[in-house]
Symmetry: C2
Subunit: 203 residues, 2 copies
C-alpha cells in the first residue's frame, strides 16, 4: 500500500489507497459481471459532491455486452475497441444540455433559473459540460469506492456516439469508461506525476 | 452520519461520510489558517487519479489574505465577495493550455505528443479544460480528505482573473474555491439530488 502517511490527512490510509494512492486505471477485466445494484450504489455516493446551483448535469448510459455494445465499439478509436468490447460494463458519461428542466426540483431557492436559462443554449452547454465533468471526477472515485476498477477512455468519436445513442435527447457524450474487476496484466506501470512546485503558485 | 450502509461499497462508512455523504459546501469559515503543509498534503492525494495521457493540466494559485486577495475579490460576483474576502485560503483552479510542454516527462511512452500538440492550440485548450475539470473533482474530495471544507464558487469574471493573475502565463481560470474549517452557520440545508432513474439509462 502506497500510504501517504501524512498526519494532515484525516482520511484513513486504507481509504486513501482505495481511492487515490493505490488505485489504478485498469486495461483488462475479469468476466465477473457488474450488477445493477453495484451501479446504483456507485450513484448513491457520486451524487453528493457539489455542482453549480446543484444542477447535477451528469447523465450515464450503461452499455452491457450485446448488440448495443457492438454499436458503441464502432465509435471507439482502434486502441480502445478490444477493451471496450470485453469489459463487463461500459458507461457512456454525458452532459445533459437540458439540465435546466430540473432546476425547480434541485434548486428550489431560485426556480426562475429554469426560465432564465431556457433561451440561452450556449450558456447551458458550457455549464452542462463543466459541471458534468466535475461529476465524472466524483464518479470515477465512487467506482473505486465500490471496489471496482475504472478504465476511462478519451479516444472515441463523440458525435458518432451522440448520433447512435442520444439522437432523441439532449445528452452530449463526454467520456467512455470501462468498469469491472481488474483482469490479468490490468495495469501499465504508474506514470510520473508532476511536482507540487510545477502545479502550484502562491499570491 | 448519513451512512449509505451498502454492502456493495468497500469504502468504510467514516470515509464515505467524510468525502461524499456528510461533507457539505461551506459558506463560512473559522479564522484557523490553512498551512502550506496542508496544501501540499492535499496535492499529494489529488495528483493520483487519472487524466488523458497523464497530462495533469490542473494548476492552482493559492491566494492568502492580503493585497492579492483584495485584487481577487474585485473579480468575484457580489454574492461571493464577502466569503472570498474572509476565507482562510482561496484557491484559483486553472487549466494550463501549455500542458503539452510536460508530455515528455509525464507520458514518456509517447513523447512526440508534445510536438503534435504544439501547433494545435484549440485542441490543447479543450483537452486542458476537460482534464483539469476532472482533476478539480479529485481536488475537492482531497480537500475533504484533509478534514477541511471547500466552498467552490462559479460566480466570477474569469477573463478578469486571467488578466489580473495569469497575464504572463498559459493558465485559464476554471473555478475559485474557498478552503478552511467550517465556521458558524456554514451550511445551507442540503438540496435534493436527482433520482437514479432521472440520470441513468441502460442500452
Amino acid at each position: 500500500m502506497t500510504d501517504v502517511h501524512s498526519p494532515l490527512i484525516d482520511l484513513d490510509p486504507e481509504a486513501q489507497a482505495l481511492l487515490f494512492t493505490d488505485a489504478r486505471t485498469a486495461n483488462t477485466f475479469t468476466d465477473e459481471p457488474v450488477t445493477d445494484e453495484q451501479l446504483q450504489a456507485i450513484f448513491e455516493l457520486a451524487k453528493f459532491p457539489p455542482t453549480a446551483a446543484n444542477t447535477q448535469p451528469l447523465r450515464i448510459l450503461y452499455v452491457r455486452p450485446g448488440e448495443a455494445r457492438t454499436r458503441l465499439v464502432a465509435h471507439m478509436s482502434e486502441g480502445n475497441k478490444a477493451k471496450t468490447a470485453s469489459a463487463p460494463m461500459v458507461a457512456v458519461l454525458a452532459a445533459d444540455t437540458d439540465f435546466h428542466e430540473f432546476i425547480p426540483q434541485v434548486f428550489p431557492i431560485r426556480p426562475q433559473m429554469r426560465d432564465d436559462l431556457a433561451g440561452k443554449p450556449e450558456a447551458r452547454e458550457g455549464m452542462a459540460r463543466f459541471n458534468a465533468t466535475l461529476q465524472i471526477g466524483y464518479f470515477l472515485l465512487a467506482v473505486r469506492a465500490a471496489g471496482l476498477a475504472a478504465g476511462p477512455m478519451g479516444g472515441f468519436d463523440a458525435a458518432g456516439i451522440d448520433r447512435e445513442f442520444f439522437a432523441d435527447s439532449s445528452w452530449k457524450t463526454l467520456l467512455v469508461v470501462n468498469i469491472g474487476r481488474p483482469g490479468e496484466n490490468a495495469w501499465f506501470p504508474r506514470l510520473p506525476r508532476l511536482d507540487y512546485t510545477d502545479v502550484v503558485r502562491h499570491a
